[in-house]
Point group: C2
Chain length 391, copies 2
C-alpha cells in the first residue's frame, strides 16, 4: 500500500513510519506536519514522498530552501497543501493523525477521492461524524479507527455481520486522579496533570485523559463510528488499560480486545486492512498483566467533563463541536496557567449551556459553532489571545 | 432449521429444546436419549419428531408400547437407531450432546450425510478429531462447538480470516479445590467433589472439572478444532468463569469472549450459524460481574490430570483416547467408592505409560485403545464389573 501520513512528526505519525520500515508492502507517498521541519526533513530523505505539506507557511519556505532544487519532493503548505496530501493520486490510504479540527476537511476530501482512511484524529468524527460516516459508506471506502478503544470495538465487530451491537463498553484508565473527589482536584497544576499511567501521549491529550474529556470525545466518536446511541455506550474504568474495549451483543455475550498499551497494534491493523502481522518489538500479554483486571463505573460528578461529553453525544448537532472547541480553548488556558483545573469542565459546561444547537450542521455551521465556543470561553475567562479556527 | 437432538434428556439437550420453544425458525426432526423415557415421552408429544432413538433396547420397547399405534414418531434403538437420528433426511443440523465416546459414529455419519454439526460432545473430537475435522472440511459442513470455551474461541476467530491464532487462552474456573495442594486432596469423597462453582453439570463432568481432566480434554479438543499445537494452548484459571476463553494473534492482540455462565449462548450461537438472538431469560454482565477478573496459571503438580491431558495432546494418536477412557473408568470407580480421588489421575498416568501409541488411528484402532485402557484400569484397581465399549 502507498500511504499518505498527515501528521507524520507526531507520536502516531512517527510510529506509523516505524511500521513502514518493518513492512515491505508499505511505502510513503505523502507526508504532512505542522511545522517540525527538522524531523520532516529526515523523513523526506528516508521515505522519498512525492509531496510534503508543512502547514506553517514560513516553515514550509524554510524547508524548501534547505532541501534545494535537487529534491524531488514537492513542498506545499496551508490547508490547501494538507488537502493535496490527502487526495494525492499516488496514495491509496491516508492516515490522519493531525491534532484537532484541522483534520476535518482533509478527511472529507480524502474520502471523496476514494482513499481508505486510517483515522487517528478524533475531531473529524466528533464534529462531523454525521457527514463523514455516510460519505465513507457512499464512496465505498474503509474508515478504520486508530484509537486503541475504537480499534478494539472495530475488531470485536468483525465477523459479527448482522449481529447488532447492543452496548459498547468503552474502557478508560481513569487517569492519574482516579479515586479523588472534586474538591481534591482544585489545586491541580499542569505539571500534576501531565502524568498518565499507561500511554505515552502529548500534553493536550494527557490533560484530556486526566479530566476524562478524552473519554467524552471517545463516546461521541464511538457513537458516530458504530451507530450506537449515547445511552448504550458504557464507559468503564479499567485501571490497567489491558482491556481496550468491549462489545455486548443481543444474546448477552461480550467480545473484548486486550493488549499491551502499544499504538502500533491499532495502526498496523488499520493500515493492513485487518490483516494482523507480527512486527519488531511487538508485546504480548502474560499472566502478570492479566493478574488483576477490574472494571469500575466512572465518577461522573468528579469528572464532569465525561458527563458533559455524553450529554453532547445525546444531543448531537453542533453541540459536539462546542464540547470539543470549548475544551481545547480551556486546556490551552490551563496549560499556560491562566485558568484552574476545575475551570476546564466548568468552562465547557457554560459554553454548552450558552449554545443554541443546530441540527445536522454543514461544515460552515460546524466551524461557526467552533468559533462561537472559543470566543465564549475567551470571554468567560478574559483570555485575550486570539485563537480562532484554523480550518 | 430442522434439528436432530442426540441426547435430548441431558442438560444441553433440555436447554436446546427450551430454545426451540423461543425461536420460530427452529423445529425438531429427531430426538435421541439413553433411557429416560418419561422425559422423552413428553418431548415427543410436544415436538412431534419424525424419529426417536432410545439407546437402551428394553426402554425403547417400553416407550413404543406407551405411545401406541397412533403416534407418528418412529421409535428406534441402539447405535443403529442413534445413527438413523443423525442422518435423518428431514433435518439439516444435528446437535450432538450425548455423553462419551458413543457420539463418535453418529458425528461421523451426520457429517457424511452433509448435516451441520453443533458439537457438545467432547469425545468425538478428543478421540477422532484427526478424522472428523478433515471430513467436515471435505463435506463442506459447519462444525460449531457448543462448549462455552470452544464456542468463545470460535467466536473470537470470526472475522479473522487469514490471521493465525498464535496462542489460545483456554480458561478454567479452577474447580472447587483450586489453591489446595496434592496431599490435601487425598481424602476427597464423591460428595466433596460434586460441587462446582459456576456451571450446573452432571456428576461425571463435575468430577472432571474438579480434577482439571475436563480442561485436559478441552485442550485436546481445542487442538483439533482450531489446529493449534498443544504448547500454544495456555490454560488459564479465571475463578469467576466470566471470560470464556481468548485468542492471541500474531500482532500481540488478544480477543476474548465473556458472558454469564449460561450454556444457551453457545447452543444458540451454534444452532443459528453465528446469528446472535436475544432469548427469554438471557443474562448480561454488569460492573458487579466484571469487578474482579484474575488470570492465574494452573497448578499442574496438584492437578496432574491436566498435565497428562496436555501430554496426550502433544503425542496425539491413540493416546488421547487412552487419556479419556482411563479417566472415564477411574471416575466411575471413584463415584462408586471403589478408588480414592488421587487414584483418578494416577490411574490415567499408568494407563498412558502402559499404552503403545498408534499414530493416525482409524475407528477400529480408537475403540481398541479404549478397550485396552478400560481393561488396564480395571486390572490396576481390581475392578470386576465389565464396562466395555458401547461403541
Amino acid at each position: 500500500m502507498r500511504l499518505s501520513v498527515l501528521g507524520s512528526t507526531g507520536s502516531i505519525g512517527r510510529q506509523t513510519l516505524e511500521l513502514a520500515r518493518c513492512f515491505d508492502d508499505m511505502s510513503i507517498g505523502a507526508l504532512a506536519a505542522f511545522g517540525n521541519i527538522d524531523l520532516i526533513e529526515e523523513q523526506i530523505h528516508e521515505f522519498d514522498p512525492e509531496i510534503c505539506c508543512i502547514y506553517n507557511e514560513e516553515k514550509a519556505k524554510e524547508l524548501k530552501e534547505r532541501l534545494g532544487h535537487s529534491c524531488k519532493t514537492r513542498i506545499v503548505s496551508g490547508m490547501e497543501g494538507l488537502i493535496e496530501c490527502a487526495v494525492c493520486e499516488a496514495v491509496d490510504t491516508v492516515l490522519i493523525s493531525v491534532v484537532g479540527m484541522i483534520g476535518i476537511r482533509p478527511t472529507i476530501e480524502a474520502i471523496k477521492a476514494g482513499k481508505n482512511i486510517a483515522q487517528a484524529n478524533k475531531e473529524p468524527i466528533v464534529c462531523a461524524g454525521h457527514i463523514i460516516m455516510p460519505l465513507a459508506e457512499k464512496m465505498g471506502v474503509r474508515l478504520i479507527p486508530v484509537d486503541s478503544e475504537h480499534s478494539a470495538i472495530y475488531q470485536c465487530l468483525r465477523g459479527e455481520k448482522g449481529n447488532r451491537a447492543e452496548k459498547l463498553w468503552l474502557t478508560a484508565s481513569g487517569g492519574p486522579f482516579r479515586g479523588r473527589k472534586r474538591e481534591e482536584l482544585k489545586g491541580i497544576t499542569p505539571a500534576d496533570a501531565l502524568k498518565h499511567p499507561s500511554w505515552n501521549m502529548g500534553a493536550k491529550i494527557t490533560i484530556d485523559s486526566s479530566t476524562l474529556v478524552n473519554k467524552g470525545l471517545e463516546v461521541i466518536e464511538a457513537h458516530y463510528l458504530f451507530g450506537v446511541p449515547a445511552d448504550d455506550i458504557i464507559v468503564a474504568v479499567q485501571p490497567g488499560s489491558v482491556v481496550h474495549s468491549m462489545v455486548q451483543f443481543e444474546d448477552g455475550a461480550i467480545k473484548a480486545q486486550l493488549g499491551s498499551p502499544d499504538m502500533k497494534v491499532p495502526i498496523a491493523y488499520a493500515l493492513h486492512n485487518e490483516r494482523r502481522m507480527a512486527y519488531e518489538g511487538r508485546k504480548t500479554l502474560g499472566f502478570a498483566e492479566l493478574a488483576d483486571i477490574r472494571f469500575e463505573a466512572p465518577d461522573m460528578d468528579t469528572f464532569k467533563g465525561l458527563r458533559l461529553g455524553i450529554e453532547a453525544c445525546r444531543r448531537e448537532g453542533t453541540l459536539t463541536t462546542v464540547y470539543n472547541a470549548a475544551n481545547e480553548e480551556c486546556v490551552a488556558a490551563f496549560l499556560s496557567g491562566r485558568i484552574g483545573y476545575l475551570d476546564i469542565a466548568d468552562g465547557i459546561e457554560a459554553a454548552m449551556k450558552a449554545h443554541r444547537v443546530t441540527d445536522d450542521p454543514d461544515l460552515d455551521k460546524i466551524f461557526e459553532a467552533e468559533r462561537e465556543a472559543r470566543s465564549f470561553i475567551r470571554g468567560l475567562y478574559n483570555l485575550d489571545e486570539d485563537r480562532g479556527s484554523r480550518c
